[in-house]
């Protein structure tokens, strides 16, 4: 029953954002929705942008902990650019506060694929990041994504650094993806492991469909009068 009531609230918030976004009265609802996104591992960029816009218009009502949570959720949405989109709406003085500086540094490391530095910094800021469940897994998914864009076959050490796993934890991770995501393991010349990532159009260019040559249905309808 409680879960249904919760679903009711989030449906209303999304509706509010779609229908009446420029309304300072929904600020409290939007803040609650951020907390709900955190606790139930959901995410809505539009609702969060709406809230950041309201904060922009009424800076006295801004709540730093809520903004921090929004930014962490945005980090978890990578490779989507949500983090920058949020920052565009946050004034410079706010961005220079300690916790936001840390988050900006973390985003910078992820944007430039400096995973080792990233995980080191995360270790120094556990309290900030552990308050958002799913953070670890989300970043691991991003790391795997970037590796899949880049590598057909990636050395074990590179993967290990990217997802911050070693030894047994790494083996378990590999086992899971071999079984579920189409990964394979080979031995490289130096006797260390090579992980073969599934082929996609980014690491196997021959798979790239020439999508731009397909014509959309709407455009074809333009010549129906001619054909008849």
């Amino acid at each position: 029953m409680a879960k249904e009531a919760q679903q009711q609230v989030s449906y209303t918030v999304e509706e509010l954002v779609a229908v009446n976004p420029y309304n300072p009265d929904i600020l409290a609802d939007l803040e609650n929705y951020v907390n709900e996104q955190v606790s139930s591992q959901k995410y809505s960029l539009d609702a969060n942008l709406c809230l950041l816009r309201l904060y922009q218009c009424e800076p006295e009502r801004m709540s730093p902990p809520i903004v921090a949570r929004i930014l962490i959720k945005a980090l978890m949405a990578m490779p989507a650019q949500d983090f920058s989109l949020c920052l565009f709406l946050i004034p410079e003085q706010v961005q220079s506060e300690e916790q936001f500086k840390t988050l900006i540094v973390l985003s910078h490391y992820l944007e430039t694929a400096r995973f080792r530095l990233f995980w080191d910094e995360v270790a120094k800021n556990r309290s900030l990041l552990e308050s958002v469940p799913g953070f670890q897994q989300a970043i691991e998914a991003y790391a795997v994504h970037v590796l899949s864009l880049t590598y057909q076959k990636v050395p074990r050490a590179v993967l290990a650094e990217a997802i911050n796993k070693e030894g047994l934890a790494l083996d378990q991770f590999l086992e899971y993806h071999v079984a579920n995501s189409g990964w394979a393991i080979e031995k490289s010349q130096g006797h260390s492991q090579l992980i073969v990532l599934p082929p996609n159009e980014f690491n196997h260019p021959e798979l790239k469909k020439n999508a731009s040559d397909s014509v959309s249905y709407e455009h074809v309808t333009r010549i129906f009068p001619v054909l008849s």
């Binding site: 920058s84 989109l85 410079e92 694929a113 057909q152 990636v154 010549i223």
Partner: protein, 512 residues
Amino acid sequence: MAAYDADSSAGGDLAYDPNFVPDSVKTFVVHLYRQIREKNVYEIHQMYEGSFNRLTDRMFRESPWPTAEAVEPYVDGDHVFCLLYREMWFRHVYARLTPTPKQRVESWDNYCNLFGVVLHGVVNMQLPNQWLWDMVDEFVYQFQSYCQYRAKLKNKTEEELQLLRNFDQAWNVYGVLNYLQALVEKSNIIQILEREKEGLEQFTVDNGYDYQGGSNVLKMLGYYSMIGLLRVHCLLGDYRTGLKCMAPIDLSQQGVYTNVIGSHISTIYHYGFANLMLRRYGDAIREFNKMLLYILKYKQYHQKSPQYDQILKKNEQMYALLAVCLSLCPQQKLVDENVSTQLKEKYNDKMTKMQRYDDEASTVYDELFSYGCPKFITPSAPVLDEPLMNYNQEAYRLQLKMFLFEVKQQQLLAGIRSFLKIYSTITVTKLAQFMDVDEATLRTILMTYKHKMHSTDNDGKIVSNADIDFYVDDDTVHVVEAKPTKRFGDYFLRQILKFEEMISELEKVQLD
């Protein structure tokens, strides 16, 4: 509405009598009023674009037109006509003179009244699209101007500060956004565009006009408000929401938005800029290219238009932004030859510098971005206690800072690109040596290149923007050149339609 106060006129022209209506103005308003009542859109357009500007040049270069109150008796006291007249009156003040603080607030009131009447659905006129576009465009412009004005607190007089305190609702950002949103909703324009895709509406074919005796005003104001919303959101730094507001309009096609050149340029300029900030460089380049080519071909036809200067300014800004996009994301085949020539003439040196990615590059990026970007605003109300400061640059500084940060993150990619152009395969070790970094760093640079050159579109799909691509097999980098995409499908469709047109023309010819 308070009568115009001649003593505090910004023109300082004490000879100006707001209540004196010269004969030519009398004739003008009587004629215009009649044309509006008889719904002669062509005539209205001639008077609106032609006569109004000629009279302005002749008699009102440095003073306002007679007030709406003075003109009222000649138009049967028609309430809506006076609202329209007043809108033109304020627009003229903004264009040729400097509005006083009081006038800024009064103009806001007028827009509230005008939009209020339109939203009630009681306006049954047909007005030229140019006029309706100008209204929305001016509305957003005056909002932007007001935000800039009230953010400059340092040299304000006590009287000005008091005005700001008393009229704190004037031009408030919620009001502006809500009016635009209301026009979009009340006009049902989104549903109309949807139904048009299924062939149930003639909106685009009729250019928004109503040939069944109805009115185009609410519909077109709703349509143009979508572009207005894109613009306001760009000014606030919310690019994603701005693009969402424009989603109902298909930019790959001609549409009503292309028929008034002001709306065409404003749409593409803001669309392109938003995509640039979203790192969707391919989309931005494509749209800027199309627009610049269009302006190149057709600007001569607009030389006499009052908007000519604006067109030229936006043209230059788009070249600057295009230079920025192409430096961040070089593309061989997306830019038309003629546009490319113009671009090289204006920015060849600067583009070379930007692609070097050193400190000097940063300065050039700063310069071009600052020239090409919109005039960002801070939407919050000013804090009116001491100490009074100017904060009108804050919004711009934030966007610039974020943009330059992004540029810096992409700094190392230029080095990679130059090597990828030369080699078809190269080991990680060798490449690291050439770039003078250790292997681990090189691997991060390779991944950064991949990440930055692929953007996420609105549906979450990953799209590649890279002209040169690669993949890594253990410790070897294999380079792949992106194939130029030939759009055969589109080409054939266009030719089919063209030939059909020609054939039907020929069939009409009768030989004796």
